[in-house]
Symmetry: C3
Subunit: 390 residues, 3 copies
């Protein structure tokens, strides 16, 4: 059987500066600014190293594997310590592809592909930042980061371990899609009083259509954080994204509704649903060997308690330029500005920083002070760097 084995990767390094500002909301004119200059990795593409291969089994059948590790090339601190980016084994054929292992979730994809900045650098899709914050903060609140904190604690949002996925075959006239189920792997004990935990389970699907110019896709996913009395909690994500390539420019757009649904038994509230509604619009403008990128995003938080003045919102504006020295090597520069309204109502989720995850305890970075009458208010960031793929 014919086969291939490929060693591949990305090394992306740059200099970045991140600034956050908290301000008083109680009338006093106080503010605290935090800033950091860092040698950064992954400002344009995520640094990684991977091994993948495929074997033609005849009859249209193929076996393939994909093992991909994140690389912290700024500090060397992580090598190929884990295959946290992807570690899958697939059997594919005319029927489609069955894929086993760790992979992106079905409901994440639209947050990445329908934004000109994807989820890298200071321009990172605003919806993705809010969703990452929510995933990490609720995992911590309900028993700790899922799957040992791979992918910086965003598991069951960005990626999931122990997944079984089915992908449609390629020849469906532009239609594509996948369904995905990730096992929670908790031990069921017949003597346990509270029932068996399904914490860590993820189920989702994504379907789309493209003709090469237009691309549109719908994603949905449910992540179980708690399933045992007296409380249960799920994060439910629904999103739709589209892009259209006009040749002179490429347009991007996404709408997302993420609900954090908590069910309780008395005296707790029967059901409490926090809602995060987001929209992102962006554009890529090719200019010679380069591309200008711009995006605007907005996410609105509705507190499940429904009290007056309990909502919050975030706006983000990002602008960048990528100059291609070759197909594999590019120089890039990006700037972004984030504005937060009523951040005091939900500082850990809507207190958005220029990075993909704002939770300071997980990813060292400037954060917001949200005590003493202060609330998250504004952040800015820039990246200047070089990306090399191999």
């Amino acid at each position: 059987a014919q086969s291939s084995l490929t060693l591949f990767g990305v090394v992306d390094a740059g200099v970045s500066r991140y600034t956050t500002k908290s301000r008083s909301w109680n009338g006093t004119q106080q503010q605290v600014t935090q800033s950091q200059t860092a040698l950064s990795s992954s400002g344009y593409n995520s640094s990684r190293i991977g091994f993948r291969g495929t074997e033609d089994l005849g009859g249209g059948l193929a076996a393939s594997f994909w093992l991909e590790a994140p690389v912290a090339n700024d500090s060397g601190a992580s090598g190929i310590a884990n295959f946290g980016r992807r570690s899958t084994l697939s059997l594919s054929g005319p029927f489609g592809e069955v894929r086993l292992g760790r992979d992106y979730t079905a409901s994440f994809w639209n947050d990445a592909v329908f934004d000109p900045f994807g989820v890298n650098g200071v321009g990172t899709n605003l919806i993705a930042v809010v969703n990452s914050n929510l995933a990490a903060v609720r995992a911590l609140a309900t028993g700790g980061l899922l799957n040992g904190g791979l992918s910086a604690g965003t598991d069951s949002y960005l990626r999931t371990s122990n997944a079984i996925s089915y992908f449609l075959p390629a020849n469906l006239g532009g239609f594509y899609g996948q369904v995905q189920y990730a096992l929670h792997e908790n031990v069921r004990d017949s003597s346990a009083a509270t029932g068996s935990s399904r914490r860590g389970r993820y189920a989702g699907a994504r379907f789309g259509w493209t003709d090469g110019k237009a691309d549109v896709a719908l994603g949905y996913g449910e992540s179980t954080l708690s399933s045992t009395a007296p409380t249960a909690e799920k994060i439910k994500s629904l999103n739709i994204g589209a892009s259209y390539d006009l040749g002179t420019v490429k347009l991007f757009g996404e709408w997302s509704r993420v609900r954090d649904v908590r069910d309780g038994t008395a005296p707790l509230a029967a059901r409490l649903t926090d809602r995060y509604d987001g929209v992102v619009a962006g554009v890529n403008v090719p200019v010679g060997a380069g591309v200008i990128r711009a995006s605007y995003g907005r996410v609105k938080f509705d507190d499940g308690n429904g009290l007056p003045g309990s909502d919050a919102s975030v706006n983000k504006l990002a602008l960048g330029y990528v100059h291609h020295l070759s197909k594999r090597t590019a120089l890039y520069a990006s700037v972004a500005r984030i504005d937060i309204r009523n951040g005091r109502n939900n500082p850990s989720v809507v207190g958005v920083t220029p990075l993909v995850l704002s939770v300071r305890a997980i990813l060292p970075q400037p954060g917001y002070v949200s005590t003493g009458g202060l609330e998250p208010r504004r952040a800015t960031g820039y990246d200047v760097g070089i990306r090399h793929a191999f």
Copy 2:
């Protein structure tokens, strides 16, 4: 000098279910069942990734290295974090091979090669499970897992670090063999009152003969767990295995005697020897592109105290089928059933689960309740999966 460099590996993924049952032995009719469904790796072959190479130095001399990491492809949790499977440098020639580094122990080999299931999946050689449990439990009881818990805590049984091995050359008319010594590396302090510790030292040997159809080998090894007053402890393993390939079927058999020998100074007992006597028989039946596998194993525990009714025993039955899609890719399914008698006498070692190691604190899995009048009684497991080698 001619040379080669090879990147190689195995990715094995499947869905497995493990169930254990504890029952009361004091008359009450209580029982507790634990179960787990998991995306599993290594159900047929151990998932791994490695680098190896050899250089022809002329005159029949060669230098070669082998660095091989275990891979948790179900979760991506471990990448190439360690070369815990093997990390050796060899100089070989007409005289044989001198090998330095981390490797399988000489006394382990027979547990793996003379069982149709080897040490993977729910069919794992029963003798190997008992020996793994013993190694981990006694290491924990005498100061913690050896060598930092590589190979899931089975060091000095399954593998050992810091080893110096000598292998016979290949041209001895079918005779083969090795002797192995692993340095304990403890610091000797001239001012220490209790003498110097040799904890972590391993010494063993294995000799065999094969003509291609028949294969028979004898293994022996000693692992030092404690050597300083007031107690000393060694695990001494003796085993003999054989296989015979009749063409239509291949037969396997193994006998093993493992002794846990503890020497004390008064008022402790002068010597106390627990004994684990095991036997395994198995068969491989080729059927077209597939192989049916079956095995039966039994291990009997004799408590060194010699009190009446202090013994225990385990029986295991395993059945499986492997379907080869190509030389490198196979589908497989296995089932196994384990029965334990008098498990209350030694629950941590004879409380065998469907996996290679039953110590729940080290390898997350369903375990046995062995308090409140309950004892390990029965376990079942199955695997359905796909193995791809590259």
Copy 3:
């Protein structure tokens, strides 16, 4: 664009023995000896595995990356867990090279290249051992190992993360050089009372000249350990090294002055400078397919307090032989003897052992007793091993 991708490495294994002796300095004739026999890695060259590549971008421009992990092949304990040896991305051209990431410091190079033993095995450059001890001990004393303890805690001496380096181009008539700045990456908080910390910052440079036979270079570097009131601390390293290849022998020499400068605010001393003055001389004598290596080193410690009798010193003598079986494979043997005078005045830095770092809490090895009237006095070590590069 033409490009290359290379997988490379070194596996070096041997048997080593290390002995240290502490003796009483208060008149009693006590002494404590500690010793260890170990399967060692990196006795001649550092065991490693790496990935590097380069892409020709046209116009003399090139992009290149280098990811290199240390390998503990004696135990398999570390695989490619981190790229702690080097992880860089470079853009180079007629102007020279800009390099981003983790790399050797500019001020370390002379300690390695102007000693016949470099910084490997029992013959390791004495100046490097003292400098490694100082870096680790002062990092621990001021808040913990830098950069997570990569390179065994010698960061900001041997290597540094988050560095931006510029290298002169190759065509300057034998002149070469680099300047380097490593970002501290600490968050600046506008509300912090003590100012912003620059701990972890490194700045250095190195310039040299070679005609192929003669080679001479000057290095300087500053590592910031503390910059916030009431104390500030920097380690400032100056060194000059030279080698001359006479054909029949190659001569090596180095002079080094390292200052540990602490500034305080009253009632602390305004400035306190410990000084470590070192000199090393060595020789390589080719003999057929082998090379005899010998070196002598001496480091003198001057306590910043300037009290009478507060100084200390170390002498080291090393002798070795390397036999090349091929360009890539070599057998080697080395012996070394270390003598310490007045070690009680600075046991953690001048208590030198045969390894590159003497701090026992970081690198397990025989150490010195320096309590109860004992002080570090003498150490011996030997290595016998084999090195294979691929």
